[in-house]
Symmetry: C2
DNA sequence: AGGTAATGGTCGGAGTTCATACCAATTTTC
DNA sequence: GAAAATTGGTATGAACTCCGACCATTACCT
């Protein structure tokens, strides 16, 4: 579906996209698994009830239940019945490892690189917007909490999850649901990519410094600075990934 | 575990989105109608064959045909059988008019405003990226053609379509399919909004000047300038719309 | 003129998804 | 301890979607 690079930039080719990529079932599995892996629902937390989730995802409960069964079978969650029961996250965050950067579809690779490009636009935009908004104390507390979680995380897997949450939190601060959607999607892909490469302490330290600078810029309302820092942050990650993934 | 649903900045609330908004049939109608109204397929042009469209939209031919039937019934297209036949666009571009800014769902209004926010991030990003890329002569020709079409358009309806195409063309120049998707979506919403307000010659002239500046910046590879101009362009349109739509 | 190819039009069975109702387990509440 | 409430578990039939094969029409090509 993706035109190979160099193909003519024909509008009609570029604009028409799959009207519906997956079946509802797959879409649910994908979204829930992503949500869990990104740490939106951390280890031990309880997901919303089936009925609520079904409504939220705009899917029948039957379909949602099939998705849940898949997650259960995959070991991401466990389920208890009865009032006060529900579905709890049991997945331990996966530790990044340097395996399997090979075995990549050309299409997949193209998708990944495209995500990096898109990210470099969307996330700096979100950062600038967050800096522009005047944030209420609650919002600032969320930002600080997310930032502290990243800074405190010791094990690489925890750091990875906290990092995702940090970036999602910034997007959520803007109050734009479309932005949140875009960042979620971008972070999901990014998460996949980062699992395929080795993690270096130096990279983490560098990243943490950028996070701190970013938070400062957002709190001060310096949107140009916030954007610039986030751009640099994205560029650094992208360079790392492009280098290691080809 | 789940914070109260009043917090608009809650991650778990913000991240979970409908896994699938429409049925395949509706999605097809929507996308095709949008594509036509945005002028990707101008009046008199022939759409791709049903088999090709079905594959492109990742939908069975039966479903696509139902969508086509809806478009036919709505008067957007006409269909002829046999080799050399196909489906041609018959919709005359609608003339913007000052009606029906009333009768807006609160949700709808929220969606519209959100689109303006998202646009202000995505389109300037696309412009900057297009300026950064070194464009081959074919690409430059497409850019110029799209620009010339906007500048030449006399009737408001034609201008509106040409404007959409111009913005889509810039996104397409970047070669990023995710960006094209984002801009398409944003332009579709924008199109709806602009149909609900009166069009002023002064606005059009102003917009045209910005287009010219933008094209110049892109051709020169001045990405900062390209972004700044596009930001201003978005801000101006947004201000107009926010003012007239409340 | 006749054959070929490309197009839309039609049909039927298989798989998904949906909506609804009801059952079962467990906690909370009184 | 009993009732109520909330949660997951199950079942059924309707509607939608998909796939594949085949038919009908028309233009192009030899």
């Amino acid at each position: 579906m993706l035109p190979s690079p160099g193909t003519s930039h024909d509008l009609t080719e570029a604009v028409l996209r799959p009207a519906r990529g997956y079946h509802a079932f797959e879409a649910c599995v994908e979204q829930l698994a992503t949500t869990i892996r990104l740490g939106v629902y951390p280890l031990g937390s309880t997901l919303p009830s089936e009925r609520e989730l079904a409504e939220r995802l705009n899917v029948s409960r039957s379909t949602l239940r099939e998705a849940m069964a898949a997650l259960r079978e995959a070991g991401l969650v466990e389920t208890r019945r009865g009032r006060g029961g529900g579905t709890v996250v049991t997945l331990k965050p996966r530790t990044p490892s340097a395996r399997a950067a090979a075995r990549l579809t050309e299409e997949r690779r193209h998708e990944w690189l495209d995500s990096l490009v898109f990210r470099r636009i969307v996330e700096p935009g979100a950062a600038a917007l967050a800096a522009r908004a005047d944030l209420d104390p609650t919002a600032l507390a969320q930002l600080d909490a997310a930032h502290a979680a990243v800074a405190k995380a010791r094990r690489p897997a925890d750091h990875r999850q906290a990092d995702s949450r940090f970036h999602l939190t910034i997007a959520a601060l803007t109050g734009s649901s479309r932005l949140v959607e875009a960042v979620t999607s971008v972070q999901a892909t990014l998460h996949e990519m980062l699992l395929a490469i080795p993690v270096l302490d130096a990279n983490i330290a560098h990243s943490d410094r950028q996070h701190a600078t970013l938070v400062r810029a957002i709190r001060r309302g310096n949107h140009d600075r916030a954007r610039a820092v986030m751009e640099e942050h994205c560029d650094d990650t992208a360079a790392l990934l492009r280098g290691l993934l080809g």
